[in-house]
Amino acid sequence: MSALLTMEGISKAFPGVQALSKVDFEVIPGEAHALIGENGAGKSTLIKILAGVHRRDAGEIRFEGNDYRVANPHEALAMGVAVIYQELNLVQKLTVAQNIFLGHEPLHRAGFVATREMNARAGEILKELGISIDPRTPVEALGVAQKQMVEIAKALSRASRILVMDEPTAPLTQSEIEVLFRVIAGLKEQGLGIIYISHRLDEVFQIADRVTVLRDGERVHSSEVSETQIDRLVLAMVGRRLAEEEPPLEVPEDAPVALEAEGLSDGRVVQDISLQVRAGEVVGLAGLIGSGRSEFAHLLFGSEAAAGGEARLMGETLSGGVPQRIAAGLGMVPEDRKLQGLVMQLLVKENSTLATLDKYTTGGFIRRPAHESRVQEIIAELRIATRGPRQSVKALSGGNQQKVILSRWMDTGARALIFDEPTRGVDVGAKAEIYALIRELQKRGVAILMISSDLPEVLRISNRVIIIRNGRVAGELSRKEATQEKVLRLMMGADESDNGV
């Protein structure tokens, strides 16, 4: 079949980095072409060129046989090329329906927005996606996963030729991912071309027909999915073999309880959650979207006020807000790196030490050499791909931004850390590094509570898994007992598990 889109010899440089060099890429109608590679490999840059966000330095793009030149995302959308970006791009104050139809609102004859029609159509798209959100809800009231589904709905309402998805599943849990895959299969049948970026290689094998691997801005591999294996793709991505996975460290029998919640509730979602994490233990917190996992994390961390119950660290009751709890030895990596994690206007050095700035000050003044050399060490330790402490975080790839946020807690001397989706959008190599980091923290006796929607990950690194459903603890499984099926069954509620999960 003739190609829908052909990109040839695409190159793009940013100050100090060659993000892409002479990359070829092609999509034919009705296929899903996966684009994979490590953090900073250039995946997002390639699709941003397609979408008119960045201008290419060199190369040709042909779309349905014609020369393709777009100056901005608006023109790309007009050609039928819609993109779901890696970072959420919703207008917080607008409603779900307004976001979905932003820029192409259905109009009355007089030129006013046909709100009722817009809400109805948004409702249909949402229903197709199997999500029950009222289209009139303001986006700011939604959780990250629901926002992601709104992004998907927004792109679906515009894609007529090509749909690009940059890590669409990162914030989603299993059941939404399945819905998304059904939608993708349907789009393929209609003859759309799909470009699919993901760090989860199993997904590539599930839905893609072809796969292209980028490394350091170059295309290093391209093949039919049916003719390759995971190992070969990983090797192509990282250029080296990864260390064997190690099982999580055993927690010593006599390890004291470090972090403890007793009957915590927020009067809305979280209902009476009690749990304990021992020093040096990793407890995985699994649950569906909306189950209250992140809300619970905020109660523990003091960034939301609890309506009942209490949190304890090393036996001491935690009171006060975030600053007091950080001082007491608690830390948290929030789930949304753009909205809750990074200050985009600031540099790497400030972002990575935002919680510990006081360590580098004398009488309020920052000791610059000490500060920068420590950040340099952190960069090396976590292998953050950046040109140095003074790079703006805006210019880092998604995975490296995540590492910057993680690095914030390396130095606080924390006794317990809450990680909310710590590996979201992080490549296989960096994931392994983050797991190694978690082991290191474990060895130091730090208690870790990890929320993750990536079930295999939860099972791999947790000593214990606690399952949350509807704001309550639905069950607890030790490492030996925990299997994907058991966890899923508890997440969904036992009765639903019978008709297939």
Binding site: A13, P15, G16, F301, S303, V322, P323, I326, A327, M332, P334, L339, Q340, G341, L342, V343, M344, Q345, L346, L347, E350, L354, A355, L357, D358, Y360, T361, G364, F365, I366, R368, R387, G388, R390, Q391, S392, K394, A395, R408
Partner: protein
Amino acid sequence: MAQEAHASSEGAAPAGGRAAYSVLVRFGPVIGLAFLCLVLSVTSEAFLNPANLINVARQVSINAIIAAGMTFVMISGGFDLSVGSVMALSGVVGIMAMNAFGDAAGILIMLAVALSCGLWNGLLVAFARINAFVATLAGMTIYHGIALVVTDSFPVTRFGGWYRNFGQGHLFGLPIPIYVLIIVYVVAHIVLTRTAFGTSVYAVGGNEEAARLSGINVERIRTSVFTICGFGVGIASLLIIGRLQSAQANMGIQAELDAIAAVVIGGTSLAGGEGRVFGTLAGAFTIGVLNNGLNLHDISAHWQLVAKGVVIALAVIIDRQLVHRQ
């Protein structure tokens, strides 16, 4: 490198053309000011006259000092409309207090009044969570009202006393206000770029949620920037009453507009999270030099208003274009 906390790109040697851009963005306000001075020095003989330049600097110092505090507020994502009224209130209270208790005590009282007004604005914004625009709009009327009440709308005067040196004194041939201006800017710059507090101000303006989750006490930062702004207004007010030897409830009207204009021309983002005090200084001088130039050319005060508006719009347009190109 001093302004690295918010440079929109790396400071360490990016490729040629881009380096030029980031220099343009960073020094844009200064370049604009230099251009304006160049034009004036060609078109008017009086402009480069040292006496004229010193005079411009002295006139600018009032607005520039207010604008320095405003820069703190605006980097943190806020706004202060009440500075003009704070200036009037602290000025009249200052004169009255000096008449009653002498210069030193009077000055302390006036600075305390200005600082308290700022503190109150800050508390409203940070803790009562009232939008900065509304909170300071209310403050603007309240402080002006109080100034009218305490003076019964008559001017208050104080002839004699060493406090006048703040407005009229000279040191090594330069007016005192210029020294005050320099001290204020050096301190403000150091606080913003070299202290943990300064970084927190940028963080709160750039992403309040991220700052909060990193343990930064957002309420305290917000309260502090308004308090700093109020204190700065107190200093500016002292320079004015020292010069006029009097104060009245209607002075300082529209001072907020000039201060905000200086900050905006200086490249500080209205959305918060970026900005530099030395940009603001260039902005304040741009306004002052522009007024002076139009005066030298005998252009009416009415046209000066128009010109100021045009410059504000141009500055923001150019700034946006450059940042966007990057």
